[in-house]
Amino acid sequence: MYRSRRSQLIGIAYLAPALVFVLAFTAYPLVQMVWMSFHNWSLITPAKYVGLDNYKRAFADDQFWVSFAFTLKYTAIITPVLIVGGYLLALLTSESSRLRRITRTTVFIPVVIGLGVSSLLWYWLFSADFGLVNKALADLGLISKPVLWLGVDAGRSNLAITASVVWKVIGFGMILFVGAIQAIPREITEASLVDGASYRQRVTRVILPLTLRTVLLVTLVSVIGSLLAFDQFYIMTAGQPQNETATSVFYVYLNSFPYLKLGYGAALSMILALTILVFTVVQLLLTRRSHA
């Protein structure tokens, strides 16, 4: 009895720093946000309790739905590209040779660049007057006059930004896939070779099933990341044209900071957080099933 209580205390003592950190920087802000979402607060005047008004307003707010739909569309387009593309790159580079290692490193480099920096870089590459993208397309004879990539047409802006983000993050998935593929026991690979499996059969029957958990993990991370997209849109289109490319987080930002409606911004954050929670739970359930 005495010993177990003592060891419990020691355990808690070891946990304490991490626990304090989580409480201070995750639990407390979360509670505070829930509190804020039930109030109208502009910082200067004291917060006023408004009950569920902020949530009711969100559901009647057209721009909220435009942003939400746009974010889902962006996520739906970019996720398959990242997963399939990343996986194909991993298949190409999983076995170690000099050229493959160089390829892997090259594809991975953009991952370590800040998203803000890479967005500004691509803003200039896509510039109608100074950009290299238009120059290259024109020299190839694919376009006759400069294309206005960003901020004029929502679909085209989305395409351009998706391309820049794929360049930026595809290496992340690739590295995890490479790790998973390399972790497949040699015996299994050798056994399938002895059985006369073709490369295609080995990919679909051996490699893919054995790396499925990683695929689901990467999908989960990438879906959450895309649903929280902000930097690239803030920098490259600032939501233009007419807030059609304003993502959900961008709209939360607009409400919380430039408009200083902190309560409303908090309510929108809560809705967004719950949406992401649903996606996460669904995906985690899928992961568990694949494991069983």
């Binding site: 109608a128 004029v152 233009q240 900071f257 954050s269």
Partner: protein, 449 residues
């Protein structure tokens, strides 16, 4: 809403700032926090005051210099300064004021932000103090007091420097086409086809940033109907946006857009990246309406464009038949220092002494002019001659000191909510997706908010 410092922010700062915003937006920001290093009154004399202001060269060093000089002269009533980065400051100062923990001296932009402090009874009314200390008031540009005045009362001490918006042009491009700088709105409209025929965009515009479009409306409204048109909006008069002068200004802006006056795809260009300035100094565009703060970046980034004398500038020309005074200008008429109403009497006295003896003292004025800025003090034009940019600084001084009215940028003058609605509608107006009447109807709904 203060887009100006943003346009000069480095991309690293932008990245860090957006990352912080994401973190805040997705986790929710914490409630009122303590005042950080702001409370400098521990153990100090009763009259010790606190002062919060912005970081960043050259302003930070100059502000600190004035505080240091004041503290040396007043060892009994020292001022403790705390500095903040621009975006952090905006949230921090509002949190502190809301929590009753404001510094004695509040640095700000005047206009709509100041109005919200006044409505919450958080800042001192300085009207009678300025009446008693006429000498303090009389040495500053009269136009700088507009953004410090709310409902006829002065709530802030104007400080620091002016940044009017002026019409820049590329002299080489004008020479190539054989055109003269425009003297009227009609001239601008007739220059448009000339430049288009020569394959040069008549006007550069970073339309994605929206407040850039707004500058055209600010001048059109003023030149057509005078300053009272926007003043009526600012004062919260009903249906003020439906004023005939306002409709005419909005219509003229759309005429210019329909005539291809602005660079093709202007709504894809951001001002934050300085891409609009690049169009002007690379000769891809002939004119640009922009704040005088772009002069510095065009000098740095434009090769020998500025130093070679190829950059021309002028105040916005008159509109034919307009009522407005063509000497008027728009932009940042100054920065503003208010006194917290929650401060003790002794602290308030120290702050007032700081205003009358240290703010824009001769030493501070010299530091501003050395840094290539024009302080809001009368008679500094003689000190501008030594600068390598003397000609431009003299022009900025003349425009600012001769302006009968130096209006504050609309997005700064209005409340954050109204300003955001305004920028949204301006984007739609410039994309020709709403008519001037629809613009007015939509904006009338947020008047007085």
């Amino acid at each position: 809403m203060d887009p100006r410092p943003l346009s000069r922010r480095s991309f690293l700062g932008l990245a860090a700032g957006t990352a912080a915003s994401v973190a805040l937006a997705s986790c929710g920001s914490s409630g009122p926090s303590d005042t950080g290093g702001g409370g400098g009154d521990g153990g100090a004399a009763a009259g010790a005051a606190t002062y919060w202001f912005l970081t960043g060269a050259p302003g930070e060093q100059i502000r600190q210099g004035s505080v240091d000089r004041f503290n040396q002269a007043n060892p009994d009533a020292k001022i403790t300064a705390t500095t903040f980065q621009n975006d952090a400051y905006k949230t921090k100062i509002k949190t502190a004021i809301g929590a009753g923990q404001a510094p004695t001296i509040i640095w700000g932009w005047g206009g709509g932000g100041l109005r919200s402090y006044v409505q919450a009874n958080q800042v001192e009314d300085l009207t009678s103090w300025f009446a008693e200390n006429a000498a303090v008031k009389d040495r500053l540009f009269p136009s700088s007091f507009g953004a410090a005045t709310i409902d006829g009362k002065i709530y802030a001490m104007p400080a620091e420097t002016v940044q009017p918006i002026v019409l820049f042009y590329n002299k080489q491009v004008f020479d190539k086409v054989g055109a003269q700088p425009p003297q009227s709105w009609g001239d601008i409209m007739s220059l448009v086809p000339k430049f288009n025929d020569a394959g040069v965009a008549p006007i550069s515009l970073g339309g994605q940033s929206r407040w850039t479009n707004m500058m055209w409306l600010e001048f059109l409204f003023d030149r057509i109907g005078g300053t009272e048109v926007f003043q009526a909006v600012f004062d919260g008069e009903k249906d003020a946006w439906s004023n005939p002068a306002s409709i005419e200004g909005l219509t003229k802006a759309q005429e210019l857009i329909k005539a291809n006056g602005f660079v093709k795809g202007f709504s894809s260009i951001t001002a934050d990246s300085n891409a609009d300035q690049a169009l002007l100094y690379t000769g891809k565009a002939a004119m640009m309406l922009h704040g005088t703060w772009t002069y510095g970046s065009m000098s740095e980034e434009g090769g020998d464009f500025v130093s070679g004398g190829n950059l021309g500038w002028m105040n916005f020309p008159a509109v034919e038949g307009g009522k407005g005074d063509p000497t008027n200008t728009v932009g940042n008429p100054g920065q503003y220092l208010s006194i917290s109403s929650k401060a003790t009497d002794a602290e308030k006295e120290t702050a007032k002494k700081f205003f009358s003896t240290a703010v824009l003292s001769d030493a501070e004025v010299k530091e501003w002019t050395d840094a290539g800025a024009v302080p809001i003090v009368k008679g500094t034009d003689s000190q501008l001659g030594a600068s390598k940019d003397a000609e431009f600084l003299k022009f900025v001084y003349d425009v600012s000191s001769n302006a009968k009215v130096f209006a504050q940028s609309w997005d700064q003058a209005l409340s954050p909510t109204a300003a955001e609605k305004l920028l949204d509608n301006i984007a739609k107006l410039f994309q020709l997706s709403i008519t001037p009447q629809q613009f007015a109807t939509s904006m009338n709904q947020v008047i007085g908010q």
